[in-house]
Symmetry: D2
Subunit: 385 residues, 4 copies
């Protein structure tokens, strides 16, 4: 490889075999900027499926593993072993898989929520700290350029002190008991053994909470949650409504629902401060509305006039050429590559890479879920997360 | 007058003099369908302003009163006295003004919130009952054709059993201490002596709550509220965030804010049921989004294909010719005229008139505000309204 | 009447009886600001329908006329005769009705297009000039506050020299041969005897052309038109596509269609200059998009920050409380009242009234239609209007 | 490589070196689905820049060529030479570069417009035919899933016979003489020596024309064009307005502009038939509006309910997870890979690959530009393309 091209990292994948959803997303995200070479995988807990999935991807059969522990051992022993592993399994495997990789000296990019339980999250934080390795959680919505611009606006004081945060994430795909049909995505997400303590809370509520935190920088002080399992027989929440009290006096509401008929992937954030307000919708992510008190509302566009360097760094094509979910996800991967390379080369961390959600954000997400569950179980009381 | 034209009612107005906002709205609403003749007024508590305001409107000086009590007495004594009074004063005068009118045998159309306190609301309910007169509260957003269509859809079962209600009413005009500048609209709305116990809660929260109730028909069982006065020195709430538990299991969130920078008059309702969902925004009131689970989202339009008779009855011009705030308000007035005429002529009440918000809805609104205030004062506990 | 109230004008109406559409719109528009008293009418060319329509409106039977000529004579002879007549008939009656009124000394507010033919338009211009009376054409879309703001922006140089104008008016109600069902609105609009030389061109193309002229102030130099009657058997155009060359070098396109399935009343204007651009859609008339080269797009709102005095004068309620078609139409009526009163009292014409479309704009509209027809008939050549 | 993975093609790139825009887009598009390995390049006509650009991309220096002719010869001589070349140069090099590749037995993916002149286009058609190789033109907007759905809807008769086509492509980046600043993208696009006979016409007008043709399947019979160079000193058109007559009676308008201030990349298509209409906007490409006469408008979503197999085949992630410009572009590349593999393996062409724009569409685009230029030069007459 010419020394002019950015370094490509050897990547292994855990989960993401045939029938999975998010694994394919991770692979495209990893490919988009050519910063990774997928060379190994433990793609399924079913050995036959793991093998076939490896063939689908053109992996070397010798590096197509039946189990992640096996991959950790074998790859660590190779001179050209994987440098980083992407974990795309159901939630209950995040902790053991991440632990295995980190202890084998392999950096980790892990899907959200961090783990199945807050106890696992705390344990994982210890493992990460002990390992000294890079750990990234794919709160991928923070990869959108205009989300980074929104963060920049708040941080730069363009809204004044924050007063109100409204965040919501509405879907409808679980409005019926899809799990009864055997559809894989639904089955594990509604099963406490595999999803963990949160249903909609864990799957999308953590995204919403992280997004609000990322953009505003506010610390959550207390919350009061009402969670519901609307579909008869469902064991985990499919709707959660939460009041938020932030340190410093800001107040907010969070809504996560997978039964809101007519919503596909309705993640939306609104932030209001003393002097300004902003609004961003994931389903039309190339626009950010920004208002200053007494002025007219402006439509900021990805790549358009006045965008900060941070936002521009996350942008690939000119304004009006829409970027979407995969590009935002790919920004996480590109920044993770920069972060890992900086680590490998003991070089300074680039500004964008410093924005990446890591173990702390992963733990905060699990604590948020746990606090919501506890609040609700106590009849809807205020709880510190 | 030819017996072919609908009967015009003699109308008196209380409040709405120079410098007022909502009084002019009531007058346009009353004029739009030619069902009222404004013939008398107690337009201001300031006698000079009352007189000048009467001149502005071309009222007979003999029927331009300095006080509503005087108007009640004088008009009741005339053979051609007013049949109905519109009350458009600050909140604290709603109760005494309405009482004076009703006890003088005059029907009442009263602005919201019903009164300044729940105690007054309860007392007024007694007065209305004793009077046998028509009493309408101008929860004007129920006059929008597509709001009535939304109600029709829910009632007809098009959404299945309701699960989630999301309602919000966001403005920004009080994001700074406008009251310090002396602007009349802000001064009385932030003054507990005149506005009553609720700030944003009373001014717009009651609208939001009423809208959700009107469309869904759900009964509120419990609420948990977080209210804030963000602007330093303000004595009433300017932001309120509320969790709602409805009888029968539906859950919801309500947000009312007058400090959400970038929002002009952002009243929005979303309702999700077992099989369908709908969304309506007051700022673009000629569209109603309706989704059935598994189907594509449809944009229903005012006056467009498939609209119910109820919605069509509230529509004046063809689809694509936008109707707005004043037309919706005028529907309340037109229906009120129908209701009063039915009362006067001992005739059946037309279907649309039966939809009008009355004393019960007014009382419910005050109880909602009181419950929010009590919940918040107790630290954010669940309360039955 | 107190001398404090604006003068109310005595109004007679021609056309607008039972089954009509635009007559009811004119009546609401006239009522909205209380500047007119409807006291007489020649509401239908069918005497029985005229009589019944008068009863519907509560007119004095003695002033409910069977023919406009009769109304002109009788009202001119009364001391309290009408001061102004609203003409809301099918197009072919505009000329004789207007002529009768003007020659009887009655001011005229006339629906569009001005007449059935350009020859009539020219003749009417002579009649108006000879009469010395006020003549207003209800190009009602010029009554929208944000249309006036758009004109103000162009006139103030905010866009620099104009380069491109894109205007369109798309509907779909004539996508099938509705006239075969006997529906009154369709029957006369597709009949050359009553509609005149233009179909979609006359009915909505004139609106589009006028809107573009009103906002830009540009003079049309040449046009090239392609018109079509898509519905088999239809004798007038139901779709017209036109290239426009303006004096000074600006270029543009106009599209008027009544067969564009999915469009209700899609009037839209876009104007682009050397340094700025703007966009306005009638179906969401409370927003105006304005862009400056190199800047972000701003959403100007009716009544919102930065609006000119001209736009504010046409605004009744605060931003976020949508105004619509009827309010825009009412602005024409209010301004017409101001204009007539200024004429009657020999007083200066208020600024807004000076914006009213009159006989010149009516004639220009007819010349535009005639030029389109001629261009098309010649195979699609460039023609000076 | 496992035989389970789809075959990866060896790709060479012509143009797309440092400072270029579209080359990077092609590379991401080629990577997204892992169907290509970029192994060679003639990345710039400046040898130093070519070498450095190759280093940036990690190319083998031995396969980083200073000229495309050199690349054609050298690669054709290798056993592992490139199988396909992507041409991403300014327009005037498309013809010689494509000719060189095809004659060396290399398949070609070529950017649009096809060539600089219609004569070159005709010549290239001969070369392609003689070569027997695959030739794809990156009219990338046909890669959007909902564009393919739109085509499917029209072809399936959901709109009835087509009557009206409205297509536009509006940008503003050339509203000033950006070429005077030396910005590379602007310099060559406004230079007839490199861009060819069309300015906005060639750069974006061909996209608009192709999109309309792709979706409707209509054949253009005649056109009448008005083209303008608004920016003083510019030698090519920066705005083009065109009337379209299609065989079979449909009529349409096309507008392409690079001076429409406030527009970033505003490609929009509307198609109206006897029974239905549809509307698609490139800037929000995950929605397609579809209306049936007499029904309400439906919002079809990418990946959502009711999508055809054709559209689903072009979709990577679930509805609500927006895909954009790069994914659409990548669909062209993926389909091209399928087409080339089918050619190499003498296998049937997959359905999606059969949709790819090829030499015929490229020639049609050049003929469209040439006809517009000729029409305008003749004063705006109707011309057969």
């Amino acid at each position: 490889m010419s020394d002019g091209a950015p370094r490509r990292l050897r990547l292994g994948m855990i989960g993401g075999g045939r029938g999975a959803f998010i694994g394919a997303v991770h692979r495209i995200a990893a490919r988009l900027d050519d910063r990774y070479a997928l060379v190994a995988g433990a793609l399924s807990s079913d050995p036959a499926r793991a093998r076939l999935s490896g063939r689908d991807l053109g992996l070397d059969p010798a590096r197509t593993y039946a189990a992640f522990a096996e991959m950790a051992a074998a790859e660590a022993a190779r001179g050209d072993g994987i440098e980083v592993a992407a974990i795309t399994t159901p939630n209950h495997l995040h902790y053991p898989a991440a632990k295995a990789m980190l202890e084998a000296g392999i950096h980790v990019i892990c899907d959200k929520p961090l783990t199945a339980t807050p106890a696992e999250a705390a344990a994982l934080a210890g493992v990460v700290a002990a390992s000294g390795k890079v750990f990234v959680v794919t709160y991928n919505y923070t990869g959108y350029p205009l989300v980074r611009e929104a963060r920049h606006l708040v941080a730069s004081g363009a809204l004044g002190g924050i007063r109100v945060v409204q965040v919501e994430y509405a879907q409808d795909w679980l409005a019926r008991d899809l799990e009864a049909t055997g559809r894989k995505q639904a089955v594990w997400r509604t099963d406490p053994e595999r999803a963990g303590i949160g249903g909609a809370l864990g799957d999308i509520g953590t995204h919403a909470y992280n997004l609000a935190s990322f953009v505003t920088g506010l610390e959550l002080a207390e919350l009061c949650a009402e969670t519901t399992s609307f579909v008869p027989g469902r064991r985990l929440d499919d709707d959660a409504q939460v009041l938020l009290r932030f340190a410093g006096g800001a107040r907010g509401q969070l809504w996560a629902s997978q039964v809101a008929v007519g919503n596909e992937n309705g993640l939306k954030l609104r932030v209001y401060g003393e002097t300004g307000g902003l609004e961003w919708r994931q389903e039309n992510p190339n626009e950010l509305r920004f208002s200053e008190f007494g002025g007219v509302t402006k439509i900021l566009t990805r790549g358009g006039p006045g965008q900060s360097g941070t936002a521009m760094a996350a942008t690939r094509v000119p304004p009006g050429h829409p970027e979407g979910y995969l590009e935002g996800f790919a920004n996480i991967y590109r920044d993770a590559a920069d972060l890992i390379v900086a680590h490998l080369e003991d070089a300074p961390v680039p500004e964008s890479a410093a924005l990446l959600p890591g173990i702390a954000e992963g733990v905060a997400g699990m604590n948020f879920v746990a606090a919501c569950v506890a609040s609700h179980q106590a009849g809807g009381i205020w709880i510190k997360p």
